[in-house]
């Protein structure tokens, strides 16, 4: 069905053209050039130095740690986001607005401060430090700390994606399911979940990209032990500070590829979501 477009379809003239040029220039300088530069630097001396950098044990360890961190943080945050969105949109309770604000906290708190909080809490001189060292549990400067910091920084993504979606959908369909005899699980599985499926996937993709790219909070709790507590972004920084240009940009290009993949998947989901919505005639 063709609908009259709200935007004039004429070719831009005058002001429009100027704005367009500005936007393109902006993107070129801030996005495209750096992107090309990263890849250019990585392959400046050909493929071999790139492969050597990637195959270095420290790099492999950083890749492993990054993947492990994301593998723990993303499912947990997906689950948390879903429960939080469910609670906020389907029920009324005291302190609801406080909960919503708390979910947004990681967006407003500087990641470095977030990292410091974990050091203060779990570090050897921190609030729980005595207890932890007595039981020989290492959190800060070890993998658990990195995972915790990543969870903290990325926890709004899925929830923030789902809350407006579920608010817009209301709960009439759920009520209808209940009057038809469905129990809580059936209602969730057969009615709620299919309606928010694409929102969850979308949130997970964004959350994954951020979890793998997180620097600030992780940097504070990591301790920067090469081959042990370095994630990909931290590894890039260390290599760069050591003047290992090619290695640094090679690893950086890995991160760039991850974000490009995330971007493409995100676009595909948007289109897929659009198509499935259109197939149902919702648009």
């Amino acid at each position: 069905m063709s609908q009259p477009s709200l935007v004039r379809s004429e070719k831009p003239t005058g002001t429009g053209l100027l704005l367009l040029l500005l936007a393109v220039l902006f993107l070129l300088v801030l996005v495209v050039v750096p992107l090309v530069a990263v890849l250019g630097m990585a392959f400046a001396k050909g493929l071999d130095p790139f492969l050597v950098a990637i195959r270095h044990p420290d790099t492999l360890s950083a890749i492993k740690l990054t993947l492990l961190t994301a593998a723990i943080a993303v499912p947990l945050n997906a689950l948390f986001g879903l429960t939080a969105a469910w609670a906020i949109t389907k029920f009324n309770f005291r302190g609801k607005s406080i909960l919503i604000s708390l979910i947004d906290l990681p967006f407003t708190v500087s990641p470095v401060v977030a990292g410091l909080l974990f050091v203060l809490l779990f570090g050897s001189r921190g609030a729980l430090g005595g207890f932890l060292s007595a039981h020989d549990i290492q959190i800060v400067y070890a993998t658990p700390g990195i995972v915790l910091a990543t969870i903290f920084v990325t926890f709004p993504f899925v929830a923030r994606e789902l809350i407006p979606l579920m608010q817009a959908q209301g709960n009439e369909e759920e009520l209808a399911a209940i009057t038809l005899g469905a129990n809580g699980f059936q209602t969730f599985w057969r009615v709620t979940l299919p309606n928010i499926k694409w929102g969850i996937i979308y949130g997970v993709v964004v959350c994954t990209a951020r979890a793998m790219g997180e620097f600030g909070a992780v940097s504070v709790v990591s301790g920067h032990v090469r081959g042990k507590t370095n994630t990909l972004p931290l590894h890039v920084e260390i290599l760069y500070n050591d003047y290992q240009q090619i290695e640094a940009f090679s690893v950086a290009s890995l991160l760039t590829v991850i974000s490009l993949v995330a971007l493409i998947v995100k676009k595909l989901i948007e289109r897929k979501g659009l198509i499935s919505a259109r197939a149902r005639g919702a648009l």
């Binding site: 009439e172 369909e173 009520l175 209808a176 399911a177 209940i178 009057t179 038809l180 005899g181 469905a182 129990n183 059936q186 057969r190 009615v191 299919p194 309606n195 197939a279 149902r280 005639g281 919702a282």
Partner: protein
């Protein structure tokens, strides 16, 4: 199955939702809850369904206390005003939903479910649309799917919340006739909420008129129309002129209009309620009112007049009525009230 609501109250903070409401609905009866918005009719329906809990009072289904029964155990079919169809499911899957979520020991086999769906589609005359999605249906069709879906689980009680509220006039008239016919076939105890008096009077065995969380009157459509118990019922049902006047020697005087009354003390302030069809009017230069506006609506003509010394008076006549001879906008008319109900102010 019969429904009994006993002394149910519901408050939200300081707002009264329902104030000690009691109601009996007999098995197989179709009852409409009629009232303006905020009258508590939807709240009452949702309490019967279990979607809302009462602060006080009980709900009985077939004599058994169902006040604390869970929604899904009540065996009610509920039709929502905005349909609440499952957007991601086809029409057939929507209708089959209630059967598919049944516990395994009661759930019919898949072929039986499909047969049942076909049967229900035929019942609501939507054959051939089983693979469509809700967004591909018209409002009226969606409403019929919602009805079929509610009927699939063979509810003991069917509850409809403004089921035709979002549809245009022609479709709602057709659908309510179809609903009445369906009810005559299935005889499921039904409660329908509406703010449309025509709808309430046309489909119901009995009408419950509500206002401000209370029941004003319960009666057959004829009783509600002809023997309104309260001024509110009289005013809310039927097209009514509300006239404010004073009693003077056996008449209520409203400007130059005089209506004979009995049993009211002289000097009393009264409210006279006059249906638009309980009036006579004829052209008369010595009359007491001036015609301001006339328009024809099918076989009816509505005439608005301005009574000398009082406000407007609306009347309606059959289009070919001899009373209308010579009546035109701007002319003077005499007015006779054939039936008025007088309430003290």
């Amino acid at each position: 199955m019969s429904i009994e609501v006993r002394d149910v109250s519901k408050h939200w903070q300081n707002v009264v939702g329902l104030d000690s409401v009691s109601l009996n609905v007999e098995t197989g009866e179709l009852v409409t809850l009629l009232g303006p918005s905020g009258s508590g009719k939807t709240t009452l329906l949702r309490i019967i369904a279990g979607l809302e809990s009462a602060d006080k009072g009980q709900v009985y289904f077939g004599g058994e206390d169902a006040t604390d029964a869970r929604v899904r155990d009540r065996g009610v079919g509920f039709v929502f005003q905005h349909y609440a169809l499952f957007k991601h499911m086809s029409v057939a899957d929507n209708i089959a939903f209630g059967l598919r979520v049944m516990p395994r020991d009661r759930r019919p086999a898949e072929p039986q479910i499909r047969a049942k769906v076909d049967q229900l589609l035929a019942l609501v005359q939507l054959e051939g649309l089983s693979n469509r999605f809700p967004a591909q249906l018209s409002g009226g069709q969606r409403q019929r799917v919602a009805l079929a879906r509610a009927l699939a689980v063979e509810p003991k009680v069917l509850l409809l919340d403004e089921p035709f509220g979002a549809l245009d006039q022609r479709v709602r008239e057709e659908l309510r006739r179809r609903l009445r016919k369906l009810h005559d076939e299935l005889r499921v105890t039904t409660v329908l909420v509406t703010h449309d008096q025509e709808e309430a009077l046309e489909v119901a065995d009995r009408v419950v008129v509500m206002q401000k969380g209370r029941i004003e009157q319960i009666g057959t459509p004829t009783e509600i129309l002809d023997q309104p118990k309260t001024a509110f019922v009289n005013e809310f049902v039927g097209d009514v002129n509300t006239l404010h006047g004073v009693i003077e020697d056996g008449h209520a005087r409203i400007g130059s209009l005089r209506i004979p009354v009995t049993g009211q003390a002289s000097g009393a302030q009264v409210r006279a309620l006059v249906r638009t069809y309980d009036l006579k009017m004829w052209r008369d230069e010595a009359g007491i009112a001036t015609v301001t506006h006339m328009y024809a609506l099918g076989d009816r003509v509505k005439v608005t007049t301005k009574v000398d010394g009082a406000g407007e008076l609306l009347a309606q006549f059959p289009r070919r009525s001899s009373l209308l001879r010579g009546v035109e906008p701007g002319c003077r008319v005499s007015v006779e009230v054939t039936l008025a109900r007088i309430y003290p102010e």
